[in-house]
Symmetry: C2
Subunit: 589 residues, 2 copies
């Protein structure tokens, strides 16, 4: 049709007879075997002149021939029938839906979401939001378990709390099993509650396992019960697995991860997903019981060229360790733990990318760090805070285990802060000392000051109980300095030997009525509703090794010290003075 067309010898084709307009991507009309690009077409009107309305020409003129199948994309280029586009068991992503539709499928077979019932049991449990009486505990394990089930692809139902009563638990489990594929019985944290679960499963079916050599998570119960579905005319029974979940939150969450997640994956027909793993250096010794697989939650961060794993508080009830954990390390039974500095394998809860954006702050705690964490998060940095006291922080910097340390160590000889201790604990380490905040230390007291405490000397009065800060903390140094100056003997202070690790925990001990008094910064009084008697002003600095100061990781933190909104928020807390924030006190080399 186009054969012989040349620039000097054009050929004219009648539109809709010899040629048809098509859009890119359109299937080729059956009468055609090539496409002419629109760029080389000259549209003509009915008189053979260049067309005014180029969208509806009568004919077109071309000045080059096109070969058969030119500018035609073979239909098979993309996907053809019988080709494996997505394997069974694959979890569909947005683009996969497009691929399925494009390959001509209007429906596909997918795995049914398993229905999972979560039954909280325990007479001491109270629903979230209900008033708490002494001895009662907020029930939230079922919330964690249900959300885990949803995340792993199941469909979870949280049922009402059942008290520690064999018959009531029996009824609840039996009823739930009729309409679910899996029943999780979340026990209260009392040993009695867990006993009921085993009895209930035994009475309705079979207990396979009661107790596993896993820490935390010992008292797990694995079993099954036989049920007939509601409304099922055949009366054929089916087995429903029942898992007794330990009552402590950290045990409960781990039980979900190691027992419930693989079961759901199996039901969904997808290969068990092994989490991404990294090798990291342990910052502290871990002691493991010899007979247990020991799961340890760790915070992860990259300091210099090492990826560090800092073990989090181990208690099965320390729920905050769940939120703080960046990964989970397994120390297999028999290993009996690992020393500090050992390499351990960690399964990641967060992406390595996110972990690489983590700033490890150590040393003394100040509420300003929490505010800093909030601001930094918006700049794409996570601030992980380990509160170990001012001297502990300097030692951590020496071991290269943190990017910076907060410190407020008074040198009694000179009245200056931090420099003397840095020279003592960090000889030869190049650091920048930059002021974060000026603050006021004083007596933290219960609302109304019921014991009428006015000054340090009053701490020795009979009936006054005190809570101290740990050795190595700047506040302890300050207190001891002032006691010596005023000639007060620490032996006369009731509670001087008891210690807490942060201002906030000291404040909490006083707010709860456990003790009458402590020493701390004014900034904590606001949120805890305490009284405060100011005693001394002091300076809280950040000690930043020079190798990190100008790095990309800390850049947003360095910038933050000039940020007006940040300063304003810090200044809003009682006793805080931001006039010297960002001032470089010393560059030590």
């Amino acid at each position: 049709m186009t054969e012989g067309a040349l620039p000097t010898q054009p050929i004219v084709l009648q539109v809709n007879e010899q040629a048809v307009y098509v859009d890119t991507g359109d299937p080729l009309p059956e009468t055609s075997d090539a496409v002419i690009p629109i760029e080389i077409v000259e549209p003509l009107d009915e008189d053979g002149n260049p067309a005014q309305d180029i969208r509806a020409p009568r004919s077109i003129r071309i000045r080059a021939a096109v070969n058969p199948w030119m500018h035609v994309r073979p239909m098979g280029e993309d996907m053809v029938a019988s080709q494996l586009v997505l394997p069974a068991g694959h979890v569909l992503r947005p683009v996969d839906l497009g691929v399925i539709a494009a390959s001509g499928n209007t429906s596909i077979t997918v795995a049914v979401q398993p229905k999972v019932a979560v039954i909280p049991t325990g007479s001491e449990l109270v629903p979230i939001g209900d008033p708490l009486s002494p001895g009662e505990i907020i029930e939230f394990n079922s919330l964690i378990l249900a959300a885990q089930v949803q995340e792993w692809g199941g469909y979870a139902t949280r049922l009402a709390i059942v008290p520690d009563d064999l018959h009531q638990i029996q009824t609840a489990v039996s009823k739930a099993a009729k309409s679910h594929d899996l029943v999780l019985v979340s026990a209260g944290s009392s040993a009695g509650a867990e006993d009921f679960t085993a009895q209930v499963i035994e009475s309705l079916g079979e207990v396979f396992v009661h107790g596993v050599a896993v820490r935390p998570g010992h008292p797990v119960i694995l079993g099954k019960i036989e049920v007939v579905n509601e409304g099922d005319q055949t009366r054929l029974s089916r087995s429903v697995p029942v898992i007794g979940i330990p009552g402590y939150p950290v045990s409960a969450a781990l039980t979900g991860e190691i027992f419930v997640a693989p079961l759901i994956s199996r039901w969904l027909g997808r290969p068990s997903k092994s989490p991404e793993k990294v090798t990291a250096t342990l910052t502290r010794k871990i002691t493991s019981p010899p007979g247990d697989d020991d799961y340890v939650r760790v915070a992860l961060g990259r300091v210099g060229d090492r990826l560090l794993a800092a073990p989090l508080a181990r208690g099965a009830g320390v729920i905050s360790s769940l939120a703080r954990a960046d990964g989970l390390a397994l120390l297999p039974r028999g290993s009996q733990g690992k020393p500090a500095g050992a390499e351990i394998e960690v399964s990641l809860y967060r992406s390595l990318e996110e972990i690489n954006r983590t700033i490890f702050a150590t040393g003394s705690h100040d509420v300003t760090l929490d505010i800093m964490g909030q601001f930094l998060y918006q700049s794409g940095r996570r601030l992980a805070i380990a509160s170990v006291g001012s001297i502990g922080g300097l030692l951590a910097l020496k071991r290269k285990e943190a990017h910076l340390a907060g410190s407020h160590l008074l040198d009694p000889q000179t009245g200056e802060y931090n420099i003397a201790d840095i020279q003592k604990y960090l000889p030869g380490v190049a650091v920048r000392v930059v002021t974060l905040v000026g603050r006021v230390q004083g007596l933290l007291l219960q609302k109304g000051n019921p014991k009428g405490i006015r000054n340090l000397a009053d701490l020795t009065k009979p009936g006054v109980t005190f809570i101290n800060r740990q050795r190595g903390s700047g506040t302890r140094v300050l207190l001891d300095y002032q006691l010596a100056k005023q000639g007060i003997s620490s032996h006369d202070i009731h509670g001087y030997q008891n210690q807490e690790y942060t201002h906030l925990t000291v404040g909490a001990a006083i707010a709860s009525g456990r003790v009458d008094c402590g020493i701390g910064i004014a900034a904590v009084t606001q949120s805890l509703d305490l009284e405060f008697i100011p005693l001394f002003e002091e300076r809280y600095d950040l000690i930043i090794p020079q190798e990190h100061v100008s790095g990309q990781l800390l850049a947003p933190l360095v910038d933050l010290l000039e940020n007006k909104d940040f300063k304003h928020m810090v200044a809003g807390l009682p006793g805080n003075d931001v006039s010297e924030m960002g001032k470089v006190v010393a560059e030590l080399h």
Copy 2:
């Protein structure tokens, strides 16, 4: 109370008067200041004898003193008020819900999911599942976009297809904007459709950008329109961003990733998440237009100690590249591409863990590989198949770019398969040659064989069109060998110069009626509903470098060659012979 208790000098405490039973984790009663572990308590009955019912003793006997606050966990140990538990902008995980409840919060403030309308436009579009006429296209871009929005945390509404009509699109956009926070106008793939979007936004508001220097995704339109909310009495208008999404699927998906995702993140108040990145070695040259940021989808796999990035087919319409992509590489404008062997940075779509479980198969294609992919997926391996022909596969093994190659290269001298070519193309490379499947090659014909083709000689008849396989493919070698043997000149075969890269695409070309005939394996006829005239039997082997044969990665593949279910399924395809599957033909060192 317990002071002075000794093994020889026990002290007895009255239950509920001097001592109270508590469970682990219970708050301490106000009258107590220490906990005695149950293990060292001797329960007594009313007569002072060991109690029968240990759950309800009258009194207890202890033989050791406990110090104040012994076995008491300070309340502040876990979390205290005012401490930053989770930063604002954090995406809540299951454990976080527990932490929030545990810290006494019954509700928290969360970001509202932005409501996003997706409007497909284009007169050529047909909803998924509706019958297709020539010139019509299945509309699935809105499905991808809506699923992307949901995945990124928005709430998506897919609206009905609007034909290419200015007024109708205007009405649809204007109406959607009233009840949504963002409107995505997905254009058909014709240039006209995109023009309408720009006109509509211009008429209702403002176009900021029309066209970006990004490939694929050039014709993106960014703008906003002013609307008054339905039922809003104040009649104050608000700006609603409108994004014109290009019509090609790959462009549409990429536009979502680079323009829509950051906007949703911003609205959700969370820091833009940068994907995990890896550095990989490019297996093929990439040519980029000088003026564009060039986004290239790649398949990733670790072969030996190198992480390899194989660029996927580039066409904006090659939708399967979306599903196959393991990552996205950005070649910034001005770079003009990268040579093979260059290191490139790739943003991951899958976890590195999953990529490390990927087996790269290359060489000749056989449907058995697709079945293999399905079985391997269940064993935790992904099989990525690059079909480059038998000789191409050997060359890829030489470049260490794959874990194995499929090959069926007949040596005309000996009648043996593969060995001669391995010695020619892979000198000095130690490989195992193992048989996968015996198969039948023959003429692939349209249903009913309308041209009455019976043998190779008929390919030279007038009016018969043929589609060839590419040079270097085993099938091409076989054809040329047989043509020579039968004295048929390839010049007499109409279409001998046109080539496809796989059996499946040859089959598709015939099924679509584009050509009459091709050479291929019997196994493809079933799914494509073709006729088949058997010509020759042949052997298809896997060539596996010895360094991979006994590795952990390939272990499930090696096992699979002995798997009954796998053999059974492969044997079920026409022409397949599994009697020699798994037979080691040669160990070459």
